[in-house]
């Protein structure tokens, strides 16, 4: 092949339009990119920047309701736009593979992993079944999956999320493609799992000299993975550079602002704790049916303090919140509010007890009733708890909207469907504030948001805490958020509290073993971070093996 000097993938002036109603709107506007063999290109940007759309277009594909309306997509000398549908299909899966964000949603739960693995190579006649199975086991070994000989014969629900994501990467590699598109492959994973998946993905790309497009919104992740980075905004390229140059010397303002996001730090120190804690969880054990999720948990939250609860999914963080709100009465133990015992079931609590503990959810989409206007959403707690009516209520709604930095006149009559993700979360905060609480549980409130927007929310929460001396219980899996906003930290693992203390204590050594693992797994912007961390861990494991 005379492709030596030509790039593997060459996209010129790509224009993609999406249909809304009867109109076509431009989603991607004139994007150029080139990719050589063995090279990893990082695509970053906020949601709606067109990252995934470009990723799919690299396979010559557009979502239903979208169309590729301009430009060239030249893959190994062939323009995919001019290629017939069936020829395109031949390429996909064999020469270009795709790894989706949610492996759990991409596997068919009714078939074993290996049956789904062999489907593509057998279908395309690359290998016969026996060869493909042998290859699967080989790839599983290389991806460091546990028990590679037998893991393929399990069903998707029988393996963990990280393993599933690696199985999907293995599947993408089944035909030894020239190009793999990774669409946020680790976004749904815990940090401790993410680091393993990142390491194996990078390893495997090196081993097979595959080109890859790595789509993510996490800058630290892209810094580890990519050789060069393209920053996208509103479907246009903002900046393109080699990773190291991009990180150390961003040119555009927008890029700089993305880089600066992690700089937010809580402004004021927490007040001295009152003698009586605002919320006290006393030896709580809770269970769903027969499976115990919380084992003898105790902690306190003081007025004006932010307590961050961190841990992987399934560690019992949200369950702890459900116990406090009374949604899940505990099997043993009590919850106290200002020294007063709270009834275990929320149905037995008084209006005032309910009013004082408010909750903000991860998904603002599902936390706002789509059929209620903002006026109704914020107004209801006002009339329900405080008995406000008419003009007084209207004035208070306006005041609350001002407080969350949304212009009352523009927003009061809107419905949730007419708001952006960050605005919805702000409305949820306003609704919680309307009840005039002293304590707010924030359950992963920033996880579903873009980093810039998330930072805005954190700033807002911080300001509100200063103004109303609110106490927050901040549930998150993101340690960067913890560092930004917490006063105290509780680390949870499998329903138990592993470590708790002030932020300073937790974030400075010596750490508990698990906290150490958690902390060291958080990607840093330094492009050498992944290598360094893996190296350190190897050393540690050799040392501990020698002992």
């Amino acid at each position: 092949m005379n492709t030596k000097n030509k790039p593997l993938l060459d996209i010129k002036g790509l224009v993609i339009e999406g249909q809304s109603g009867e109109e076509w709107n431009t989603i991607v506007n004139g994007v150029d990119l080139t990719l050589d063999r063995g090279e990893i290109l990082g695509l970053i940007g906020e949601s709606g920047a067109g990252k995934s759309t470009i990723g799919l277009a690299a396979m010559g594909y557009a979502h239903p309701g979208c169309r590729i309306s301009g430009g060239e997509i030249i893959f190994d000398g062939v323009d995919l736009r001019k290629l017939r549908q069936d020829a395109c299909r031949e390429l996909r899966g064999v020469r270009i593979a795709y790894v989706a964000q949610s492996a759990a949603a991409s596997f068919n739960p009714a078939h074993k992993l290996i049956d789904q693995f062999v489907e593509i190579p057998v279908e395309h006649g690359v290998k016969n079944r026996a060869e493909a199975e042998a290859d699967a086991i080989d790839l599983f070994t290389r991806l460091q999956m546990p028990t590679p000989d037998t893991i393929g014969f399990r069903y998707p629900h029988q393996v963990s999320g990280g393993q599933l994501q690696r199985a999907m990467t293995a599947m993408a590699l089944s035909c030894r493609p020239d190009l793999i598109i990774f669409d946020e492959p680790t976004t749904a994973l815990d940090v401790t799992t993410q680091i393993e998946v990142l390491a194996t993905i990078r390893d495997i790309i090196e081993q097979f000299n595959t080109a890859a497009i790595y789509i993510t919104h996490d800058l630290a992740v892209v810094a580890q993975m990519a050789d060069k980075i393209i920053v996208l905004r509103y479907g246009e390229v903002v900046e393109e550079a080699k990773t190291r140059i991009m990180l150390s010397d961003p040119k555009e303002n927008y890029t700089k602002s993305l880089w600066a996001v992690r700089s937010f730090k809580k402004t004021a120190a927490a007040p001295d704790p009152d003698p009586v804690p605002l919320v006290k969880i006393d030896h709580v054990t809770a269970a769903y049916g027969d499976s115990t999720v919380l084992h003898d948990i105790s902690f306190e939250i003081h007025k004006g303090h932010t307590v961050a609860v961190v841990g992987e999914s399934g560690s019992g963080k949200s369950t702890a919140a459900r116990v406090i709100t009374g949604l899940l009465p505990p099997k043993q133990g009590q919850v106290y509010f200002k020294g007063e015992l709270l009834p275990a079931d929320y149905r037995n609590r008084s209006k005032d007890q309910l009013r004082h503990a408010q909750m903000i959810y991860q998904m603002a989409d599902t936390a706002l009733n789509p059929r209620q206007s903002i006026r109704d959403v914020i107004g209801r707690p006002l009339s329900f708890y405080l008995g406000m009516r008419g003009a007084k209520k209207e004035a208070r709604i306006n005041e609350l909207l001002d407080l969350i930095e949304l212009e009352p006149r523009d927003f009061i009559d809107r419905y949730p469907g007419e708001l952006s993700g960050g605005q919805k979360q702000r409305i949820c905060i306003a609704r919680a504030l309307a009840a005039e609480p002293e304590f707010i549980i924030c359950d992963e409130v920033t996880s579903a948001l873009d980093q810039l927007v998330a930072e805005g929310i954190l700033r807002l929460l911080d300001r509100l805490q200063q103004e109303f001396s609110l106490a927050y219980m901040f549930i998150t899996h993101d340690l960067a958020t913890v560092e930004a906003i917490a006063d105290e930290v509780i680390v949870m693992l499998q329903g138990k509290i592993v470590e708790q203390g002030s932020k300073l204590e937790i974030f400075s050594p010596p750490h508990h073993e698990y906290t150490e693992l958690l902390l060291s797994s958080v990607p840093e912007m330094d492009p050498d971070w992944l290598d360094r961390t893996l190296e350190e861990r190897k050393k540690l494991s050799i040392k501990s093996a020698g002992q």
């Binding site: 249909q19 309701g65 602002s257 949604l327 909750m359 936390a367 009733n369 209620q372 960050g422 605005q423």
Partner: protein
């Protein structure tokens, strides 16, 4: 005050304000209607004509409902546009009154069926647990008995007055509404905003009526149209069997039965009430189809 450091690009959080929604509901509805497909427009016209006829039957009908105005089975012609029936009553007038009786009663029955089944379904979904189990099993039992036979049985026991007829059909039909309302509510009650309302301490009435109901309205409205068709088909069927509306009340089902013999002479008159039923069913279905299509967001 804390100083707010403004970051360039932070404005991405603020979506451009959408064009203001037109508050005028009727103007909106009219605009939508203009864009509706031909089938839906046809459906609307048919329904409008039926409603008009049903409302103004006494004024526009040439003769009274059960007035004997000619001899039996008169052919179509001058005096009686559509001839007369087996007792010599004007066919056209009876068709018009029939619209009033059959459609009116069917409408009232459907409303009751929806009140019982809809509210029951939402409450079962919202409360869950034992309440849901008991209500659902009762509905299962009711649905296990063939509807027509069950209705015939109950009507023979309780008699065939109009209130009895309405309540029996409403109860029997509410089972299907219950099923639908419960199924769609189950998707809504797991939403966080319902949890928010519960944690706020709201009563069950608020949760069902303000939080859940508005979100399940589209499928319920569509189902209303369909159930309405089934109900008046059912009433017509019962009347044909002699257990529905009782003579001399004009009713399409019994009109078919009364004049059935004419068919053997090649006269299509007995088919007219049947055609009236068919036309309305088609019209309502066209409108329901369009409405479902619009609200389900399918393109």
């Amino acid at each position: 005050m804390i100083e707010q450091t403004k970051i360039p690009g932070e404005s991405t959080d603020f979506a451009p304000p959408p064009p203001r929604l037109e508050k005028n509901f009727f103007r909106d509805a009219l605009k939508e209607l203009k864009k509706a497909p031909l089938s839906a427009k046809f459906g609307f016209v048919v329904i409008a004509i039926y409603v008009f006829v049903a409302l103004f039957a006494p004024i526009i009908a040439p003769f009274g409902e059960s007035e004997i105005v000619g001899s039996e089975y008169e052919p179509w012609g001058e005096g009686f546009i559509l001839g007369t029936d087996n007792l010599g009553r004007d066919m056209l007038s009876r068709l018009m009154y029939g619209a009033r009786n059959t459609v009116g009663i069917a409408f009232v029955t459907t409303v009751f069926a929806f009140l019982i089944g809809g509210i029951g379904g939402i409450i079962a979904a919202t409360l869950g647990g034992w309440t849901d189990q008991i209500m659902s099993r009762i509905v299962d039992i009711l649905m296990a008995i063939p509807q027509l036979i069950f209705a015939l049985l109950l009507l023979t026991i309780f008699g065939t007055s109009i209130p009895v007829l309405i309540s029996i059909i409403a109860v029997l039909d509410s089972t299907r509404v219950f099923r639908l309302a419960r199924a769609v509510s189950l998707n809504v009650v797991v939403m966080d905003y319902v949890e928010v309302a519960r944690l706020r301490g709201e009563r069950i009435a608020w949760v069902t009526l303000k939080e859940v109901l508005p979100n399940i309205l589209p499928p319920l409205v569509a189902e209303f149209g369909l159930r309405f068709c089934f109900v008046f088909l059912f009433i017509a069927g019962l009347s044909f069997l002699g257990l529905g509306l009782q003579p001399p009340t004009a009713d399409w089902g019994s009109m078919v039965r009364d004049n059935a013999t004419l068919i053997t002479f090649g006269d299509i008159t007995p088919l007219l009430p049947a055609a009236a039923i068919a036309l309305l069913t088609i019209g309502v279905n066209f409108v329901v189809d369009w409405f479902l299509h619009k609200t389900s967001g399918l393109k």
